[in-house]
Subunit: 142 residues, 2 copies
DNA sequence: TTGTATCTACGACGACTTTCGTATATGTTT
DNA sequence: AAACATATACGAAAGTCGTCGTAGATACAA
């Protein structure tokens, strides 16, 4: 019954998690190479980070072979959700609405993406109303 | 032509900015009182923070009277936009879409808010298409 | 004038994060 | 075996952030 007490990853740890999420279980070498495509990071720096993340429970590792293989111990969406909560709280005073509006306003959004969002909105509304039909109702009954 | 080089506020600085945004120009005492409604913070801590923020250019102050009055030097939406960019980058690999979907999925959203978002989506689409009519088009023509 | 309350300025400490140098183990090649 | 490449472990430096103690200034009350 205890919720998983996921520790909040730091920015650098997030960078690493992105690599692991995207590419699956990886060696230190591979992870470091990926990071270096964006910015310069020393090998031992990446190693140390992964070791710390292991302590925190953010990653798991297999040391069957000489070279250890790390993989994410936290799921992408779960982690992002956690961070999102914190962020909405500290930057938007808790109003997720405000944040969504800002995001939609500031970032270029393709027509396809707009459609995706609309579809999600429909889903939410249907679930809220407990409808099993997909027919949209326009007004509340008088 | 130079974009305003707003330094990224830390979490504590954000807390203070929220107070200033919400209540307008404030003394250290008032600001500290506000903060203490949420958590315990020492007076000199708040003072120090405000002084640092003054150096960074995040706030301005008037020291006409003995007691200084601080006010936000950065606008709310601008700052939030800046932070949002950084956050989307580090937590969602740059995909604002993914983040919006998460936010809508995870947070309870009232019917009214859903309508607000729909309205915003319509606006965006109209602007993109350069339409002056507000008539919504339902389908793409076959 | 003397005491009291309230303010600003400033320095410093502890926690956390990121970074890297160095030591050491292990495997590989000649 | 000797030299070399590559891996992990560990300690520590450097920077940032939040916190607060203390000193000194200023106004006001008794």
């Amino acid at each position: 019954m205890s919720k998983t007490p996921i520790p909040k990853p730091t920015e650098s740890e997030l960078e690493i998690l992105q690599v692991l999420w995207q590419h699956g279980p990886s060696t230190v070498r591979f992870t470091n190479d990926q990071l270096n495509q964006r910015r310069e990071v020393g090998y031992t720096t990446t190693l140390k980070l992964l070791q710390l993340m292991l302590d925190k429970g953010l990653v798991l590792r297999e040391d069957d072979s000489k070279t250890h293989v790390y993989r994410a111990a936290v799921r992408e969406e779960e982690t992002q959700g956690l961070l999102l909560d914190r962020f909405v709280d500290s930057a938007f005073g808790g109003s997720a609405m405000k944040m969504v509006m800002q995001a939609l306003g500031n970032h270029p959004t393709s027509a396809d993406e707009l459609a995706q969002i609309r579809s999600l909105l429909n889903q939410i509304e249907e679930q809220r109303n407990g409808n099993s039909t997909s027919k949209p109702q326009n007004d509340e009954p008088a």
